[in-house]
Structures are given as C-alpha cells and as structure tokens.
C-alpha cells in the first residue's frame, strides 16, 4: 500500500485522500436556513472540475491532463463533472446542485495571499478591507446567542469582524498537512543535504505510519452537520480546505482533492437530513489555473475558475455560465480562462436568497464597492 505522503513525494497514483485539512467555523444567527461557505485555498482548477469537454480547444490545451469525456460525468452538451464528484453529480441530477463557470473575484493578479484576501474580505484590492464578508453577512442576521467561543486555532479572514462567531476545530495538529510537506519537498530539492534527509524521512514515514486515522473529509462533513443540524445550533459556517495548488502531478492530486470535497458535502447532506432542504453550500476558490497544462503535468496560477452552489433549496440541475471559450483569442492575457461572471455578485445573491435577505442590501454590505447583478436572481427557492 502506498502511503499518501509517498504519493505526494513521488507523485505516484492511488493514495488515500486526507488532503482536505479543513477546519470549521460557525456563527449563531436566528433562522432556520443554513449557509455554508467552503473555501478551496490554493486556486482550484475549475477547468478540470466542471470540464468544458465540448470546447474545441480544451483537449489540446490540457494534453495529458485533459479529462476524458468518456470517464467524466456529463452535465449537459458542453460541460461534464470530474469523475471524483459522484455525490455532486447525483445532487445535480436531483436539481440540488448548480455549477458556475468562468467566475472570478475582482482580483486580477496571481498571488494566493492577495487573492484570498480579496475573496475573503470582499474588497476590490488586497488589504483594503479589514473584516470578512461572511462576518458582515452574520451582522445582517438577527443574533440568536451571545457567547460564542472559538475552538478553532484561528478564525479565517472571511469570518473575522465585529459580529461574534463560534468556532470549532477538531484538533489534528500532530501531522503537518500534505500541502506543506509537498512544498517543503520543492524547497529542499536544490539543497543536497536537506533533499537527501527529507526524501529519506518521507519514505520512512510512509513505511512506518500506514494511513493514520485523521480528520477525513467525511468526518468534517458529519461534524459540521451535527452542529448545523441542532435546533439551537449555528446557522452560518465556513470550512477551509487546503491543497488545491497543483503545479505538478495534478491528475492524481486534484482527483483526491475533489473526492474529499465530494465526500465532505455528501456527509454534510446525509448528516443534515431534512435540514438539507434549508441549506445552501457555496464552494469557491481565490482564482483559477492556466488553461494550458505546464511542463510538470500541472497547471499554474490563472484567473477565472468554477464555483458550486449546492443544497436542498438550490434551484439546481443547471450550469450558470457565459462561457467565453478557450480559443487563444478568448483567453485572458493569452493564458487563463477569462472571467465573465462576478464571483462577488454571485456570493451576495446566493447568500441573500439562502437566508431571505434583501439582495441589494446584502451586496452593499458584503461587497461595498462592487456592482449588484440583478440578472443573477432566482438561484435559491424561497
């Protein structure tokens, strides 16, 4: 059996997925509706998640990384879902999942740090706003309970601000997460002493601690459902997932990431039972990845990506996209999927409709300097 870390180090296929190293943060507000924001840190590759298989340029740009339409889960005549997303495909069929393509925040450079800052604060530029849009969303809701205690090691920026939030993080800090281990490998590659030691350590660990019990994505989904499902429980939650920065050996890594995400959302749905009908899950990343594969079987930092809106109240079973195409001319700066839909407006609309708030007020509060998009209405049933 190949240990996950060996997989990461040597880019072999078929490892288990604990790549989502998530933690959950909750907010208490008085409503029966639930809103969950899942952030994919690291710029998830939307093109291999919601795959534009019918675009004539797709297969050529992606080469070996192209998703074979025969194995993907067809959504319509243009798009297919990555085969790791079986639960989400089921939700799509049940009209509980809506996929959005070619979406982006206002951020146009390609730094993770700055991109996440813009995504989480809701500003136009990095570091322009100090608090997070999810916290401001909490402030729009009637508050149910005062004493919020943070168990999380830290509150993610999107949930930081003046509104009180609860947090809970299953403690699993012993192991460094796989993304960090992978990056350390890269960092040590050119250093003969450290490279040798590190390779040895990763091999030794792979042999020594077979698949340690950790926080599986299912566990995280179940845990979140337990909290959100309670009658007096929190109603707004954020789950952080890491490990989406796939510069190399993307095929296996992205498959694992997506399988984890799929399992997490599936477990959340199952755990919530009837409350799933009152729940909306919004999945987004800071930006997308290059349209073309790079020289190391991966993709580099890009611009537009895909987002997901999932839940019992979602008017799903459709793709929301003004598809710009992947022709050389259509690409943003000649390399990235061009954004044609504003992620901020999408978030505001979905959040407002999910929680029965005024969409325009929600837009102003969450993304103060961004234009409201009226055309985006009707995504969630009342």
């Amino acid at each position: 059996m190949i240990h996950r870390r060996q997989f990461l180090r040597f880019a072999a296929a078929g490892a288990g997925s604990l790549l989502l190293a998530p933690h959950i943060v909750f907010a208490n507000v008085a409503t029966e509706r639930r809103f969950v924001f899942i952030i994919q840190r690291g710029a998830a590759d939307g093109l291999n998640t919601v795959v534009p298989y019918a675009d004539p340029a797709y297969a050529g740009l992606r080469g070996d990384l192209a998703i074979d339409p025969a194995t993907a889960l067809k959504l319509d005549g243009t798009f297919a879902l990555h085969s790791s997303l079986a639960e989400l495909a089921k939700m799509y069929s049940a009209k509980q999942a809506l996929f959005v393509q070619a979406v982006a925040s206002p951020y146009r450079d390609r730094s993770h740090f700055d991109g996440q800052n813009v995504l989480e604060t809701g500003g136009v530029n990095p570091y322009q706003l100090k608090d997070g849009w999810l916290n401001r969303l909490v402030s729009l809701m009637p508050k149910s309970r005062g004493d919020a205690i943070a168990f999380a090691p830290t509150i993610p920026l999107a949930l930081r601000g003046s509104a009180e939030v609860t947090s809970y993080a299953p403690s699993n800090l012993k192991d460094a997460d796989d993304d960090l281990l992978t990056r350390v490998s890269t960092l040590y590659d050119a250093d003969p002493q450290l490279h040798a030691l590190w390779s040895e350590a990763m091999q030794a660990r792979g042999l020594a601690d077979q698949q340690k019990a950790g926080q599986s994505p299912q566990d995280v989904g179940r845990t979140a459902a337990t909290f959100l499902g309670r009658a007096d429980g929190p109603r707004i939650a954020m789950i952080e997932t890491n490990g989406w920065d796939t510069h190399s050996a993307q095929a296996g890594r992205l498959g694992n990431q997506l399988r984890g995400l799929d399992a997490l959302i599936g477990a959340l749905r199952d755990g919530l039972g009837d409350n799933w009908n009152q729940t909306t899950v919004f999945v987004a990343t800071e930006f997308g990845r290059t349209a073309a594969a790079n020289g190391t079987q991966g993709t580099d930092h890009g611009t537009a990506s895909a987002a997901m809106v999932v839940g019992g109240a979602v008017k799903g079973g459709r793709i929301l996209s003004d598809w710009p195409g992947l022709s050389a001319k259509a690409l943003y700066e000649g390399r990235d999927l061009a954004p044609t839909l504003d992620l901020d407006a999408l978030i505001a609309t979905v959040a407002a409709e999910s929680l029965h708030l005024d969409p325009e007020l929600t837009m102003r509060t969450l993304f103060p300097d961004r234009p409201f998009n009226k055309a985006l209405s009707g995504l969630i049933s009342a």
Partner: protein, 463 residues
C-alpha cells in the same frame, strides 16, 4: 572578496545572534552591533525575575520531601511510592518553569550575542537534569555559575561551576572522601561496613571536558591525584546526612579531605584543605591545552563544524595573552574573517532553531506554550544532554530525517495562529535570503503555509 552588506547583517543577526526578531531592524554596522552588546549585558534579565536561588530551591525541595515522607507511613510501600512520584512531579514542574524562563529571556533579550554565549558556556559546562537534584538546580546553575562570568575571566567561571551544587551532584563529588581522611578513619574505628572512598568523576571531567581536553597528556594517575585533591569539596544541606546544614551551596568538609600533598601533571601541590584543588583549577585554567580546547569549541560554534586552524590559533592566542579574559577572546572572534563567510555552514541545533523561529515569527511570550516538551520532541531537551560532554555542536548530530519532519510539524503548529505576511517578513529576518526561498515562500498556498515554509527553509535551518 568582501561580503555584501546584507550578508553581514544576516550573519550578525543569525550566526552571532539568536535570529532576527520580527520587529528588528538590521544593524547598520553589524560588527559594532555585536561589540556594543558587551556594554549592555544583563546578568539577571527581567525574564528571570521570578526565579529562585539554588539555596531557596534546595531548601524548598527538602521541605517538600520531609512533608511527603511524613504523610506516607513507613510501612506503606504504595504511599511511599506515591510520595516519591509527587516529589518528582514537583521537580518536573520547576524544570519546565525554568525552561520557559530561559526561552522568555532568549525572546526578549537586547543582547542576543551574549545570550548565545551563555548557552555556549552552559553547554560546555553541561549538567544533565536526570538526577532529581539536578532537575531542580539546572536553571539556577546557569544563572549562578555561568551568567555572571560570561564577560569575566574563564578561571572565575570554572571556579563557580565546579563549586556549584548542581555540578557537584551531577558528577558525584558530594560524598567523595579520601582513603586516609578523618571520615575513613572514624568509620574504620567504629567497625562500620560503610563504603568510604574517592570518586574520580568530577576530576576526570574537569580535565577532559572543562579544561585541558581529552588526550592532552594527563594520565590516570593525574586524575586520581586530582580527585584526592578535590575530596572534601561538597555541599551544605540537600541530601547529605552530615552536620545538618540547611543551606545548599558549596561547603568544604574537612573530614572528607585526603591529607597530604598531591602531584598532578608533574607539579606538586602542598596546599592543605580546600585551597589545594583551587590551586589545581587555577593551573588548569591557565594551561595552553585549555586555551586550545576552548578556542576549538568556540570556532566550531561560530565558524564551522571543522573550523580552520588559523581561526583556532587566533582564538587560542587571544586566550593565552589575555590570561583567559573572555571579552578579549570575543573581540578576536568578531574580527575573524572566517566568522563572516556568507555561506551558512552551521546547521541549527533544535534549541537554536526554536528560539530563532519564535523570534522570527514575532512571538514574545511562551506563557501558553509547552515549550519544554516541544524541545524534547525536537530532540534537544534543555539541560538534559545525558552526558557531561554536553550537546554536540556539529550538523551530523542534528540534521536527521525525522528531526527535519518534526521541525516542519512544529513550524505548522507555531504558525497556525499568525497573521503575518511572509513576503514582508522574509527579508527582515533573513536579510540575505536566497531567491529560491523567497520565491517558494511567496508561492505558498496560504499565509500560514508561507510562514511555516520560511522557518523550515534551508536559509533558516542554518546560520
């Protein structure tokens, strides 16, 4: 080739200092910055304000032990065992508090070069906190025997060290008695079977580790003679069932001393009593072999695992000509070109890495951090080298696969609550940062991953 200014700054902060702090500005004149620290050294920094003296710690220990013994009935083995366990636990608590104070001092000191020298000398004169008496006194040993003498003469430090109860306990000196001592006579007269005799441990380690260095010409006979000269060097109070002293500290016990002259490395010492071993220590401190031994260790610490002969020779000469005046030796060290080579050749020990990581990340207090267990995990528990030789000062001892993984895990733990931008932090704490590290840190998937990468980067693992 002159080193670029950034490299000199990085060397001053990281090789001579304890690592740049997040709020440091790089010194404009790196050499002057190091020299000037000698004018501002704090023998007893605020971080140690709540620390007790070894006398106080020892008397508290005696009281606790007496209380626990009184509570446990003589015939109840379980109660006795529980009492011993409770006593050990108290010792461990004190030890952890001492370690936390040491770290706090490392994080807040305005004179990091001199703190580094404290750790150097403390490790040179290593005690290991394995015996309960050393567990509770190791911190006080460093404060009382090392810190006051870091800017003094080597001989004074040597004298303070060898007379400190922690060292006397650690190297089994406390009950060492000459075969012709008054105590031995008395025991024999009384027909007592009690074993009375000399213990050579302290004498041997003073010559082999603290002064001359191994294989420098002394013989087993010299060790034995020196041990005889040292007999009677003992402590007051604490575990010694003799005259009922209440104090813990050096005490010369005439009944244990072996009478008569002793001949050590060709020189006969006619002094009587306590002064005899003092005279031997004076000569050992002044020996050329000692100068070479210390010069080699200093050069190894600041220059390279295998230091160049010229550097060692320069330090040795400074030591000899100044008669062991340590500031003179440090001046020479700072002047050595070899100490300023931009290549980072010293792989940080776990202690060095931890302290520099905490400083670099802007962490100024470890009040809520289990820092002693953390250093244990990283492979270098403070004051517990398990050997009187102290911890090794070469990469081979520390650069190991698992050790590296543990640093990465600790890095993730240390950075999980932080909100710093690693791109801004990186050049401040590593003025000479490599392009590779700078790029990879900036590419990380999240700020926290970037920070963790920064403190496990090759640039940061070495100094």
């Amino acid at each position: 080739m002159a080193t670029p200014p950034n490299a000199d700054q990085a060397i001053a902060l990281n090789r001579f200092g304890l690592g740049a702090r997040a709020d440091d500005t790089a010194p404009a004149d790196p050499r002057q910055w190091l020299l000037s620290q000698m004018d501002h050294y704090e023998m007893a920094p605020a971080a140690f304000a709540s620390a007790d003296t070894s006398a106080k710690i020892a008397s508290q220990y005696r009281e606790d032990r007496a209380d626990l013994k009184a509570d446990a009935k003589d015939d109840d083995a379980d109660a006795k065992a529980a009492a011993m366990k409770a006593l050990r636990q108290k010792g461990q608590e004190l030890y952890r508090a001492e370690v936390a104070m040491r770290v706090a001092s490392a994080l807040t000191t305005p004179t990091p070069f001199l703190e580094r020298l404290v750790y150097f000398w403390s490790n040179h004169f290593a005690v290991s906190a394995d015996k309960p008496q050393v567990t509770i006194l190791a911190g006080a040993f460093e404060r009382e025997a090392i810190r006051p003498h870091v800017l003094g003469r080597f001989e004074d430090m040597l004298m303070a060290v060898e007379r400190h109860p922690a060292m006397l306990f650690f190297l089994d000196q406390v009950r060492s008695a000459g075969p012709n001592s008054k105590l031995a006579d008395r025991v024999e007269r009384n027909g007592n079977k009690r074993k009375i005799g000399i213990n050579e441990n302290l004498a041997r380690e003073i010559m082999e580790l603290h002064t001359l260095g191994v294989r420098t010409g002394y013989t087993q006979g010299d060790v034995t003679q020196f041990a005889l000269a040292l007999s009677g060097w003992s402590i007051g109070g604490l575990n010694v069932k003799t005259e009922g002293d209440e104090t813990a500290g050096f005490k010369f016990r005439p009944p244990l001393h072996e009478p008569g002259p002793k001949t050590i490395i060709g020189k006969t010492y006619q002094q009587q009593g306590e002064g005899q071993a003092r005279a031997v220590l004076h000569d050992l401190a002044s020996s050329n072999a000692t100068a070479l031994h210390l010069a080699t260790k200093l050069a190894r610490h600041f220059i390279a695992d295998d230091p160049p002969d010229e550097a060692v020779a320069a330090l040795q000469a400074a030591f000899v000509s100044s008669r062991g005046d340590l500031p003179t030796v440090y001046h020479t060290l700072i002047d050595l070109k070899a100490a300023w080579t931009p290549q980072q050749v010293k792989f940080k020990t776990p202690w060095e890495w931890t302290v520099s990581a905490l400083r670099g990340l802007g962490i100024t207090t470890v009040a809520d951090m289990p820092v002693a267990p953390m250093l244990n995990q990283l492979g270098q528990p403070v004051w517990r080298p398990r050997s009187p030789a102290g911890y090794d000062d070469i990469a081979a001892s520390w650069a190991a696969p698992d050790a590296l993984v543990r640093r990465v895990e600790v890095a993730q733990r240390l950075t999980r609550k932080l909100d710093l931008d690693p791109r801004q932090l990186a050049p401040r704490i590593l003025p000479d940062i490599s392009n590779m590290t700078s790029t990879e840190v900036g590419r990380a998937e999240s700020l926290r991953t970037g920070l963790a990468l920064l403190i496990v980067s090759p640039d940061f693992q070495r100094r």
